[in-house]
Point group: C2
Chain length 141, copies 2
């Protein structure tokens, strides 16, 4: 294995380590707000002011549509999200955050960042470089 391959290999090993470490923190992060990990994930995906069709949620979560029904039922009964009919396609229901849901989402994300991302270990230069790299790595479409 050449030097470039070694670097790439090391990079994805560390990215996976980071990912699974975050995944390990998620149950405790969510529990502070009485949210399951998957509920945290849904809340992250429904951005304020950006309604999301149920089917898109199922795709992004890599799960079956029947699963999303129950998931959204529970979030809706807690007053965090709301289903609304789509004006364009009467089969579709789009998901909105309620004001309560938006506030909880913001608190959750702040808490997750504070709990598990020791950015203070990085220099300002490193933080800026990290931003550039992540922008290349995370598909924003």
């Amino acid at each position: 294995m050449n030097r470039a391959d070694q670097d790439a290999c090391r990079a994805w090993q560390l990215l996976m380590k980071f990912f699974f470490a975050q995944r390990g923190h998620l149950p405790a992060s969510g529990a502070e707000f009485d949210l399951s990990p998957i509920q945290c994930h849904v809340l992250h995906l429904i951005e304020p002011g950006r309604p999301l069709p149920m089917s898109r949620l199922a795709d992004t979560l890599s799960c079956d549509a029947s699963n999303v029904t129950g998931l959204v039922d529970r979030l809706e009964s807690r007053g965090l999200v709301r289903r609304r009919p789509s004006p364009r396609d009467r089969r579709v229901k789009v998901l909105h955050l309620t004001p309560t849901g938006a506030r909880l989402r913001a608190r959750l994300l702040r808490q997750m960042a504070g709990r598990s991302l020791p950015l203070s270990r990085l220099s300002l230069d490193q933080q800026r470089t990290l931003v550039k790299i992540l922008e290349a790595l995370v598909d924003e479409k």
Copy 2:
């Protein structure tokens, strides 16, 4: 908010986006090997040649010990891991990968890296910088 705070804010927003994107891919990644997301996580945590006590697994997953019992039951019945008594403390059981488990773990991690980490979008310089940054960010203890 000053410039430094903006950079830090953007950095953790992107890290969270990366994390949840990976989390979204995990069910499909695991399904190719008939593994649930949590089973993938456990397999990642039990490194070959590095036995792991059950209690440590519960801590790292932020879950209750009673949960780990069932989790390990299912992995053990598939021949992927084995419980062994600890020689030092007779209350403790440590987890080992079987050869089959170690092979499956390697295949899973290779597949995850190939599926979801488009490192080819990064220059070699960026990859090397990313490694340095992640080493600072991921607690290796």
